[in-house]
């Protein structure tokens, strides 16, 4: 019987540990993308791109706006620009990582489009930033992609 109690106590302790770990891990806060947009537009000129909606997101990424809680999209404003920012907020965390393939496809298409003649564009595409964290997924191409990402993350990243 002692063995049983010991095992049960161990199970409870480990579960409590896991709960605390998961509860207090560094996770992004649920903030409106309007705040992220404000932070980006206040700090950067965001040249070479323009705000875009459902149709352009669908055309570029084959993603349906209705599948997500909200999104923020700046599409290239001319055919020679590759500057682009897409930030998506998913209804739950598990869905965010599934968007990765959409970003990879977009990047491949864009690289193919500029391969051979658009050396500047290709260089920017090589340094594209895409990924996901919690509810958020991002795809950023541009000379300041690293800084944009840093700024966006600063809005939603909080230490719980």
């Amino acid at each position: 019987m002692k063995k049983v109690i010991l095992m049960e106590a161990l199970a409870v302790l480990v579960l409590a540990g896991i709960m605390v770990l998961l509860l207090y891990r560094k996770t992004p806060a649920d903030v409106p993308l309007q705040d992220v947009n404000l932070a980006l537009t206040e700090n950067y000129a965001l040249t070479g791109m323009e705000p875009a909606g459902d149709m352009r997101m669908k055309r570029a990424f084959s993603l349906n706006a209705s599948d997500f809680t909200e999104y923020l999209y700046y599409a290239p404003d001319n055919t020679m620009s590759v500057n682009e920012i897409l930030i998506i907020k998913c209804p739950d965390e598990s869905q965010a990582s599934n968007i990765r393939s959409a970003f990879e496809s977009r990047l491949q298409v864009q690289k193919k489009n500029f391969d051979g003649y658009g050396t500047d564009q290709t260089a920017l595409l090589e340094h594209a930033r895409y990924g996901s964290d919690g509810l958020y997924s991002w795809f950023m191409v541009g000379p300041e992609a690293d800084s944009w990402l840093k700024t966006a993350k600063a809005v939603w990243e909080v230490q719980k």
């Binding site: 019987m1 063995k3 049983v4 095992m7 049960e8 199970a11 409870v12 480990v14 579960l15 896991i18 709960m19 770990l21 998961l22 509860l23 891990r25 996770t27 649920d30 990424f61 084959s62 993603l63 349906n64 209705s66 599948d67 209804p91 739950d92 965390e93 598990s94 869905q95 990582s97 599934n98 968007i99 393939s101 959409a102 496809s105 919690g134 509810l135 719980k160």
Partner: protein, 463 residues
């Protein structure tokens, strides 16, 4: 990772199958376990910890039950409580705190936890192992790899069917693999993929367009939206189950069937014998029957039905609309048992009523809030903002009539008997030839859709 993704279809699945078939029989479970952990971690790596904990807890407590038989009952109670605590904490914590705050006007902090994908499914599988082990239905599983493989098997890990250990115990050892079995599984997988990509996604798009209009719809639009969702959820979930069962066959497993043409049901009771069979079976075996089932006084039977259906609703999610949805079915089943079944109605009338009740059920299920349920239902029953018919409704109907008819056709067993007859006749070659062409066509179309649609979440992943 999801089945209907290019990564799964062209990378994960071929590599896993190749490795699985190349390694000796002894190592197959290890390959399947590692592949399943990778499959799970693809979506949310951090929650692998929770799944590993669940494996170790249920495996360890199973061994303990075997070694200390006099404490079997206490060990089972402890294991069930811990499993439910884990499920409750990650799934219902936010919901519970929000309701406590609302009820007692408190301001307790609500931490929104991400739902570990598949937790409802694998916890129920683990519980079936614990309870049936206690009941002495099978010997304890001493091999950790085999047990972990049972809990994590990627084909049914995140959206079922809920495979009871009792049903696959014999299959956890050496499994029969053959080309014929593999082929059968592949056919089932392709059918499931087509259901998801060609029918669920497209009917889902119709529902989304109606849903996005909010209250500004006509009665006809509201019905088109509700019917579209009715098809979407069926093809989405049964498509996933087909893919899971097909993958299982390819790997040498026989999983239980999860659907049997639910939209052909002539009563709500019949509907639930055909819809999400593995979940209904689970609740019947582990909640309804232990509560006394129907072999009790009427009031106790009513209590049992309501308890089971409230839990079924809650299982689907931490939200009041799911609780209402569960209770709605509980009440309908009781009415059917004690009132409606005494009326001798013609089959067609029973069918129409059943479908209307089912569609209303999905309206409750798909709503984001209770007020939204009321808005949607009032729109459907003549109190729509845009009148009975508007231009949008006619456009939706015209542009989606073929899709909705196709969805209705494939949701009913209209081809089942003729195809069976053809298969068993002397003209079986025609069956196989056309079957092959049909499969090739739906596979090609599905892949074409998948290439252009990068994101295909399954509805039941949320549960």
């Amino acid at each position: 990772m999801i089945f209907s993704s290019v990564t799964f279809l062209f990378l994960f699945l071929p590599i896993t199958l190749l490795l699985y078939y190349l390694v000796p029989q002894k190592a197959k479970n290890t390959v399947l376990l590692l592949a399943s952990l990778l499959f799970y971690a693809w979506g949310e790596p951090v929650y692998v910890i929770l799944m590993l904990y669940s494996i170790l807890l249920n495996y360890g407590m199973g061994l303990l039950m075997d070694r200390v038989p006099r404490a079997k009952k206490e060990i089972l109670a402890f294991t069930v409580i811990i499993n439910l605590l884990m499920l409750g904490f990650f799934k219902y914590y936010g919901f519970l705190v929000e309701n406590i705050n609302a009820l007692f006007r408190l301001n307790l902090p609500v931490r929104t936890l991400a739902l570990p994908i598949g937790i409802s499914f694998y916890t129920f599988q683990a519980l079936s192992y614990d309870i049936d082990l206690y009941r002495g239905k099978f010997p304890v599983q001493k091999n950790l790899i085999k047990f972990a493989t049972y809990i994590t098997m990627f084909p049914q890990l995140i959206a079922g069917p809920i495979v009871r250990y009792e049903d696959v115990e014999a299959q956890m050892g050496p499994r029969k693999l053959s080309l014929a079995r593999f082929g059968k599984g592949a056919v089932r997988f392709i059918i499931g993929l087509a259901k998801k990509v060609l029918l669920a996604n497209l009917t889902g798009a119709v529902f989304d367009s109606v849903h996005a209009s909010g209250a500004a719809v006509s009665t006809l639009s509201a019905w088109i939206g509700a019917v579209s969702y009715t098809f979407q959820i069926y093809f989405d979930f049964s498509g996933y189950s087909d893919m899971a069962i097909g993958l299982g066959q390819m790997l040498g497993f026989n999983f239980v069937e999860n659907f049997n043409y639910p939209y052909a049901a002539e009563s709500v009771t019949d509907f639930w014998r055909r819809w999400h069979i593995s979940l209904s079976t689970w609740f019947r075996e582990y909640v309804y029957i232990p509560l006394g089932g129907n072999r009790v006084k009427v009031w106790k039977h009513i209590r049992n039905i309501l308890v089971v259906w409230m839990l079924t609703g809650l299982w689907h999610g931490a939200s009041w609309n799911f609780v209402l949805w569960g209770l709605y079915y509980g009440i309908l089943l009781l009415l059917e048992k004690y009132v409606f079944l005494k009326w001798k109605l013609p089959s067609a009338v029973r069918y129409v009523f059943t479908m209307i009740f089912v569609i209303i059920g999905w309206v409750i299920f798909s709503a984001d809030s209770v007020p939204q349920i009321l808005t949607a239902l009032s729109s459907m029953f003549g109190f729509a903002e845009n009148g009975f018919v508007d231009g949008t409704a006619l456009y939706l109907l015209k542009s989606n009539a073929f899709l909705l008819l196709a969805a209705a056709f494939f949701s009913l067993p209209l081809l089942k008997k003729p195809l069976k007859r053809l298969k068993e006749s002397s003209a079986a070659a025609i069956y196989y030839l056309f079957g092959f062409i049909f499969l090739l066509a739906i596979l090609s179309c599905s892949i074409a859709f998948l290439v252009t649609e990068n994101y295909n979440p399954f509805l039941y992943f949320r549960f």
